[in-house]
């Protein structure tokens, strides 16, 4: 993940907090003074439907805001894996929320981060932070951005809401970082 431009797709059911993941990663990139463009798939989306967000982080000006072949995919449900696994760049990275995705990636060139996000969120006490658990795991293993920037982004995003929300989201972030595993292509 040391390329100067990283294209990330975040995909799952509407309501899983896809847009929030994209928002946090993009904010953290801004904190690190990188160029960033975010894009949400805008269609007849609704809670329970499939949704995806795209974030491009770059050291230079981002040209196209549209991602054809992502370098990394954060996958929160099974249909999203079916759709985006074939699209990933060679030697890309895929993060699976193993609570919702029951199969392994079929490709052998991918780095695979696994996190039982929905279960971990349940244990923390709020199912809705499963998305943040995924962010924690993603950052821990890819080191794409620093965990400090991500923490700051979480604080910024929830700052005008209840302080308790910041607290539980930070807890989710660290739980994701600790309770996830990363399989390199050879081990896959």
């Amino acid at each position: 993940m040391d390329r100067e431009q990283t294209k990330i797709i975040i995909a799952g059911f509407g309501g899983q907090g896809i847009v929030v993941i994209g928002n946090i990663i993009a904010r953290a990139a801004v904190i690190e003074d990188k160029n960033v463009v975010g894009m949400v798939s805008y269609g007849a989306e609704m809670r329970g439907g499939t949704a995806n967000a795209a974030v491009i982080i770059s050291t230079e000006e981002v040209a196209s805001p549209i991602i054809t072949h992502p370098d990394a995919a954060i996958i929160l449900n099974q249909p999203s894996l079916e759709r985006f696994e074939p699209e990933l760049e060679p030697d890309g990275t895929v993060l699976l929320n193993t609570s919702m995705v029951k199969r392994q990636p079929q490709r052998t060139d991918l780095t695979c981060i696994k996190v039982n996000a929905t279960q971990i969120a349940h244990d923390i006490g709020n199912l809705r932070v499963a998305n943040i658990v995924c962010v924690g795991a993603f950052i821990e293993h890819t080191k794409l951005l620093s965990m400090d920037s991500i923490e700051q982004a979480v604080k910024d995003l929830f700052s005008n809401k209840k302080a308790a929300l910041v607290e539980i989201n930070l807890k989710a972030l660290h739980a994701g970082a600790e309770l996830s595993s990363c399989l390199l292509p050879v081990q896959n």
Partner: protein
């Protein structure tokens, strides 16, 4: 865009919801009351544009925003506003057409915006930003140009620009021009001669001819004074791409990829679509061997490019309507096939 308008002193917004630009009225509905401005969700696009006519005649900096089918409804009002020479900003975040179409991005309203979608000989100043920072900056400038020339200005964006997120530096507003006093405003005539803002000119018999001549003189002046364009790696380019708005941004990525493969590609990106920046195309047509127009329509912008190029070099086309957008890879493929064809042609001559 909405915040830039507020910063620039826009205090009247009227609009009617339509995807993909709902974020603008949503933001304005919250923001306008905070700054002592007026937000109106009108009963229709037609009502909204006519409210803009009124607000502008009353002296307010004002704007409306919509997307393709909504902008079609506004055309009568836009023609009236242009006729009455009232300053205002109209934003069109284009979506797929014709008809109700779809809610994906498109650039198929180019003719409507640039050639005059309403009746009569009138012109809009048309701006085509390619990033959110540029959208912010141009929105501020738009109000100045509108006031300076007493002419409506249109921002011609698209559904991608309308939906993407990017960091934007919120700069304070500073006028870029010395603005004339608004001596047309209808704000009560106590102590002065009454003023009239109207578009019906029946008397004298040649009054409308004179008014048209006056408008045309103004348009000529705007053409001679206002033209913005970005050129990217055109100096030594063999293949020059012409594109505007979000398409130009995607094309820039393709130019980088082509350069990495040793193909001398470049990009001309008009920022003002009217006045159209002819000069860069005239010079590029002399130095480049081929030009490629990319747009999200079946060929509208290409007509102005061809007028500027005036047969001096071949102009190829890549574009589709209905929500299609080009990827960097698709544009690169086209560039490569053009480069290959050109190499074969050169070989043939030898």
């Amino acid at each position: 865009m909405a915040e830039a308008a507020v910063q620039a002193g826009c205090r009247f917004f009227a609009g009617y919801p339509i995807t993909p630009q709902n974020e603008v009225p949503e933001y304005m509905s919250k923001r306008m009351p905070q700054v002592g401005g007026v937000f109106v969700q009108a009963e229709s696009e037609i009502a909204a544009i006519n409210m803009i006519f009124g607000a502008s005649a009353a002296g307010a900096r004002c704007m409306t925003s919509s997307s393709s089918p909504g902008v079609s409804l506004k055309q009568e009002g836009i023609s009236y506003i242009a006729a009455a020479e009232l300053p205002c900003l109209i934003a069109n975040m284009q979506r797929g057409g014709p008809g109700l179409g779809n809610i994906r991005a498109s650039q198929a309203d180019y003719f409507q915006a640039v050639k005059g979608g309403g009746h009569g000989d009138y012109r809009l100043i048309v701006l085509a930003p390619a990033s959110l920072q540029e959208l912010y900056n141009l929105t501020m400038n738009a109000f100045d140009w509108a006031d300076y020339y007493r002419n409506p200005v249109m921002i011609l964006g698209d559904g991608i620009l309308g939906q993407m997120a990017e960091p934007v530096e919120i700069l304070p507003y500073e006028p870029i021009l010395e603005l004339p006093e608004k001596d047309f405003v209808l704000d009560g005539c106590k102590g002065r001669k009454p003023r009239v803002v109207k578009t019906l000119i029946l008397k004298p018999a040649d009054g409308l001819i004179a008014h048209n001549e006056h408008l045309q003189e103004k348009y000529k002046r705007i053409e001679s004074e206002l033209s913005l364009c970005e050129e990217y790696q055109t100096t030594d380019a063999e293949i020059v791409i012409a594109a505007y708005g979000i398409t130009a941004r995607i094309a820039k990525g393709a130019v980088r990829m082509a350069r990495a493969k040793g193909i001398a590609a470049g990009l001309i990106r008009p920022i003002t679509l009217w006045p159209f920046p002819n000069e860069p195309f005239i010079s590029a047509a002399k130095t480049a061997s081929q030009m490629l127009v990319v747009e999200m329509s079946h060929g509208q912008f290409i007509e102005d490019v061809k007028l500027a190029v005036n047969g001096q070099c071949p102009v190829e086309f890549l574009g589709k309507g209905g929500g299609w957008y080009p990827t960097e890879e698709i544009i690169l493929e086209k560039i490569e096939s053009m480069a290959a064809a050109s190499a074969t042609a050169v070989k043939g001559k030898l």
